[in-house]
C-alpha cells in the first residue's frame, strides 16, 4: 500500500541523525549517570529509527527486525546499567560519572 511521498528516506535519516547528535551532546555534557543512560537510549532509538526508515524505503522487513533486536538490546542494557547505577550509588553516594574513574592508567 503505497503512501504519500513526503516522509521519505532522506528526511527520516536526517531526523535520525539529529536525534542521535542530540543524544551525543547529552552524553558529552551530562555527568549524572541517570541522564547518561537516557542519552544512550536516545542514541539507540535514533539508530533504530534509521533502520525502520531504511526498511520502509527498500520494502524490506529487515529494518523492523533490526529494530526489535535493538529494543531487546536496549532493554537488557538498561536493566544491567541501572543495577550498576544502584551499586555505584550505594558505594559512593554520588551519581557523578567522573567519580567512576578507577580504570585510569
Amino acid at each position: 500500500m503505497p503512501t504519500e511521498t513526503l516522509p521519505d528516506l532522506l528526511t527520516g535519516l536526517t531526523l535520525s541523525a539529529i536525534l542521535f547528535c542530540l543524544g551525543l551532546i547529552g552524553l558529552l555534557v551530562r555527568r549524572n549517570v541517570i541522564y547518561l543512560l537516557m542519552c544512550v537510549e536516545i542514541c539507540t532509538n535514533a539508530a533504530a529509527l534509521a533502520f525502520v526508515v531504511a526498511g520502509a524505503h527498500w520494502d524490506s522487513s529487515d529494518g523492523q527486525v533490526m529494530f526489535i533486536f535493538i529494543i531487546t538490546l536496549a532493554a537488557a542494557e538498561v536493566a544491567i546499567a541501572l543495577a550498576l547505577v544502584l551499586q555505584f550509588f550505594r558505594r559512593r553516594h554520588t551519581v557523578d560519572i567522573d567519580q567512576l574513574n578507577g580504570l585510569r592508567g
Binding site: L24, L27, L28, L36, I97, L100, N101, G102, R104, G105
Partner: protein
C-alpha cells in the same frame, strides 16, 4: 760431540724454570713459608747449575770449534696450515756469548740477592720471579724460531713487571712496573706485526730460514725494510731506546739486584741480541740499518745528558744504561756486530758491578738513594768503593778496562762507517766524553768530598754472599776485555780496518777529558751546579728531555679522559634511548587512559568524525 750435548741444551733454560716452579710450589709441600735458606738454595742453585752447564758446553765444544752449532727439537709446537713451529732450541757462538752473560752474570746477581734480600717477607717470591726471568731470557736467547723468541721476549717483560713492582705495598712501584710493561708492550706489538709480516712474505718463522731468505732478497725491498723496522720497534721497546726509553728510569722502583739483572744480564740487552740475531735481515735494508744507527746515536746522547744531572744514584745508572745500549745500537747500525755483542758483554760485567755496589751503598745507608745525601763514603765502605771505582772506570772506558776494548772496537767501526769522519762517529766520541763525565761525577759525589747527611749512619752491609759476586764482577770488569767471543763465524763481516792514529787518540782522550771535568766540578762533593737553582736546560735533562711529560699529554691523558668519558659506553645509550622513547610513548598513551567515560566518548566522537571525514573526502 754435538749430538752428545744436544740433549743437555734444553736443560739450560729448564733448570731456572724448574727452580721457579719449585719455588712457587714450596708452600704446597711445606704448608707455610719455607725458610729463606731453602728458597735461596733452590733459586741460586738452579741458575748455578744452568751456568755450570753452559760453561761445560762452552769448554768442551765451543772453545775448540768456533763454528759449532747445537740444536734440539723438543716437540712440535704449532702446525697449522703453512705455519710449522717447533719448540726448538739452537745455539751458536752468538747464543753462547749471550748464555754466558745471562747465566754467569745472572748467577752472580742471584748470589748477591741472597744476601741483599735477607729478611724480606717476599724472599721466596723474589727468587721465583728471578728464576723465571733468567729462564725466559734463556729461551729468548736459544730460540730457533721467532715465535719462541717472542715467548721468551714477553716472558722477560712479564718478569720485569713482577720484579719492578715487587714491593707492591707502595703503589708507586706498581705504577712503574705497569709503565715498564705497557711501554715495552707497545714495542712488542710492533714486533709481533713484524713477525706476521715476515711470515706472510717468507712463509716461515725460523730465524735461520728467514735470514737466508732475507740475504737473498732484492736490496731495499720494502717488505724487508718494513719488517726490519717493526722488529726494531720491538727492540727499541725492550732495550729502552728512543722513543720508548721512558720506562727504564722508573724501573728503579724494584730491588737493586733486579735493576742489575734487568740492565746487565737480561732484559734490555734483548733488543741488541734480536738485531744481531737477525742481522742479515737488517743488512738487507739500508733504511733499517741507518734507523738502528740513528736511534742508537740519538739515545746515546739524550740519555747521556740526562745522566749528567740526576740526583738519584740508581737513576744515573739507569740513564747510563740507556746510553750504553745506545752505543750498542749505534754499533749495530754501522755493522759492527761483533763490537755490539762484545760491548753487551762488557757492559753486563761493569753495569752489574755498578748496580750491585750501588745496592751495597744503598743498603749501607738504609735505603737512602739521593746523591747529595752521600759523600765521603770512600773511607767507610772501602771495598764497595773499590768495586764502584772499577765499574766507573770500565763504564767510562778508561784504557785497559773491559769497557775500553769494546767501545774502541765500536768507535773504529763507526769511523769506517762512511769512510772517515761522520756524524755517527762524532756522536760516539761525544758520548764517550759525557760517559766519562757522568760516571766520575757519580763516583765523586758518592765516595769523595765531605760526609753527606746520610753518610753518618753508614754501616757496611756487605756480607760474604755479597762480596763474592762483587769481587768476581770487578775482576771481569777489569779484564773482561780479554774475553773476546769468537763471533767471526756468526757475523761474516770485514775485520776492522785501520784508522788514523789520531782517531784512536781521540777515542782514548774523550773519556779522560770527561773525568777531568768531573774532577774539577765534583771533587769536593759540593758543586756550583747543585748549590744554585737549576736552569731550564738542566730541568729538561733532569726529566729525561720531558718525554714523560710529552707522552702523558699526548697519549696517556687523552686515553684516560676518553676512557672516563666513555665509561658508561656510549653505544649503550642507543639502546637506552630506544627504551626511553618507548617509555615516553607509553606514558603519553597512559595519560590518555584517564578513566573518565565522557572523555572516552569524546575521543570516540573525534574518531568517528575523522572516519566520516575520510568517507566524505574520498
Amino acid at each position: 760431540m754435538q749430538d752428545f750435548f744436544a740433549p743437555f741444551l734444553a736443560w739450560i733454560p729448564l733448570l731456572p724454570l724448574l727452580g721457579f716452579v719449585l719455588l712457587i710450589a714450596l708452600p704446597l709441600f711445606h704448608l707455610r713459608e719455607p725458610p729463606e735458606a731453602v728458597s735461596a738454595v733452590v733459586g741460586v742453585g738452579s741458575v748455578c747449575l744452568s751456568a755450570l752447564l753452559t760453561l761445560l758446553i762452552m769448554w768442551t765444544l765451543f772453545l775448540n770449534n768456533p763454528s759449532a752449532v747445537l740444536q734440539v727439537s723438543l716437540w712440535q709446537w704449532l702446525k697449522v696450515g703453512a705455519l710449522q713451529l717447533g719448540f726448538d732450541f739452537y745455539l751458536d757462538w752468538l747464543g753462547m756469548a749471550m748464555l754466558l752473560v745471562v747465566t754467569g752474570v745472572g748467577f752472580l746477581i742471584h748470589l748477591y740477592s741472597a744476601g741483599y734480600m735477607h729478611g724480606d717477607d717476599g724472599y721466596r717470591r723474589y727468587f721465583a720471579y728471578l728464576n723465571l726471568f733468567v729462564g725466559a731470557m734463556l729461551i729468548l736467547v736459544m730460540a730457533d724460531n721467532l715465535l719462541l723468541l717472542y715467548l721468551g721476549w714477553e716472558g722477560v717483560g712479564l718478569c720485569s713487571y713482577l720484579l719492578i713492582g715487587f714491593w707492591y705495598r707502595n703503589s708507586a712501584n706498581g705504577d712503574a712496573a705497569r709503565k715498564a710493561f705497557i711501554v715495552t708492550r707497545i714495542g712488542d706489538t710492533a714486533m709481533l706485526l713484524g713477525l706476521i709480516l715476515l711470515f706472510s712474505q717468507f712463509g716461515t718463522l725460523s730465524i735461520r730460514a728467514l735470514n737466508t731468505a732475507a740475504a737473498s732478497a732484492p736490496a731495499n725491498n720494502l717488505t724487508v725494510t718494513l719488517a726490519a723496522l717493526l722488529l726494531l720497534g720491538g727492540a727499541v721497546g725492550k732495550s729502552a731506546q728512543l722513543p720508548l726509553q721512558t720506562w727504564l728510569p722508573d724501573a728503579m722502583a724494584g730491588p737493586t739486584p733486579v735493576s742489575a739483572l734487568i740492565h746487565a744480564a737480561t732484559m734490555v740487552t734483548a733488543g741488541v741480541y734480536l738485531i744481531a740475531r737477525m742481522h742479515p735481515l737488517f743488512n738487507a735494508s739500508e733504511t733499517a740499518m741507518s734507523a738502528v744507527g740513528i736511534v742508537g746515536a740519538l739515545t746515546l746522547l739524550l740519555a747521556g745528558f740526562s745522566a749528567m744531572v740526576q740526583s738519584d744514584i740508581k737513576r744515573v745508572l739507569a740513564y747510563s744504561t740507556i746510553s750504553q745500549i745506545g752505543y750498542m745500537f749505534l754499533a749495530l747500525g754501522v755493522g759492527a756486530w761483533t763490537g755490539a755483542i762484545f760491548h753487551l758483554m762488557t757492559h753486563a760485567f761493569f753495569k752489574a758491578l755498578l748496580f750491585l755496589s750501588a745496592g751495597s751503598v744503598i743498603l749501607s745507608l738504609h735505603h737512602e738513594q739521593s746523591l747529595f745525601s752521600m759523600g765521603g763514603l770512600r773511607r767507610k765502605l772501602p771495598f764497595t768503593f773499590g768495586c764502584f771505582a772499577i765499574g766507573c772506570a770500565s763504564l767510562a772506558a778508561l784504557p785497559f778496562t773491559a769497557g775500553f776494548y769494546s767501545k774502541d772496537q765500536i768507535l773504529l767501526k763507526a769511523w769506517e762507517y762512511q769512510g772517515g769522519f761522520n756524524g755517527i762517529w762524532f756522536t760516539g766520541i761525544l758520548g764517550a766524553l759525557i760517559t766519562g763525565f757522568y760516571s766520575f761525577r757519580l763516583l765523586f759525589l758518592v765516595f769523595f768530598g765531605n760526609d753527606g747527611p746520610a753518610s753518618a749512619q753508614c754501616k757496611d752491609a756487605n756480607n760474604g754472599v755479597m762480596t763474592l759476586p762483587l769481587s768476581v764482577l770487578a775482576v771481569l770488569a777489569l779484564f773482561g776485555g780479554l774475553l773476546t767471543p769468537p763471533l767471526q763465524r756468526v757475523f761474516t763481516q770485514a775485520p776492522a780496518g785501520h784508522a788514523p792514529l789520531w782517531v784512536e787518540g781521540v777515542a782514548i782522550a774523550a773519556p779522560i777529558l770527561g773525568l777531568a771535568l768531573a774532577w774539577l766540578l765534583f771533587r769536593h762533593n759540593t758543586s756550583p751546579m747543585e748549590s744554585r737553582g737549576k736552569s731550564a736546560l738542566e730541568k729538561l735533562w733532569f726529566s729525561g728531555w720531558g718525554f714523560d711529560w710529552l707522552y702523558h699529554r699526548l697519549l696517556v691523558q687523552p686515553l684516560t679522559s676518553l676512557a672516563r668519558i666513555n665509561r658508561n659506553d656510549i653505544l649503550n645509550s642507543i639502546y637506552n634511548g630506544t627504551a626511553f622513547i618507548c617509555r615516553q610513548l607509553h606514558n603519553l598513551l597512559s595519560t590518555s587512559q584517564n578513566g573518565l567515560i565522557r572523555w572516552y566518548i569524546a575521543s570516540f566522537t573525534c574518531g568517528a568524525i575523522i572516519f566520516l571525514a575520510l568517507l566524505v573526502v574520498l
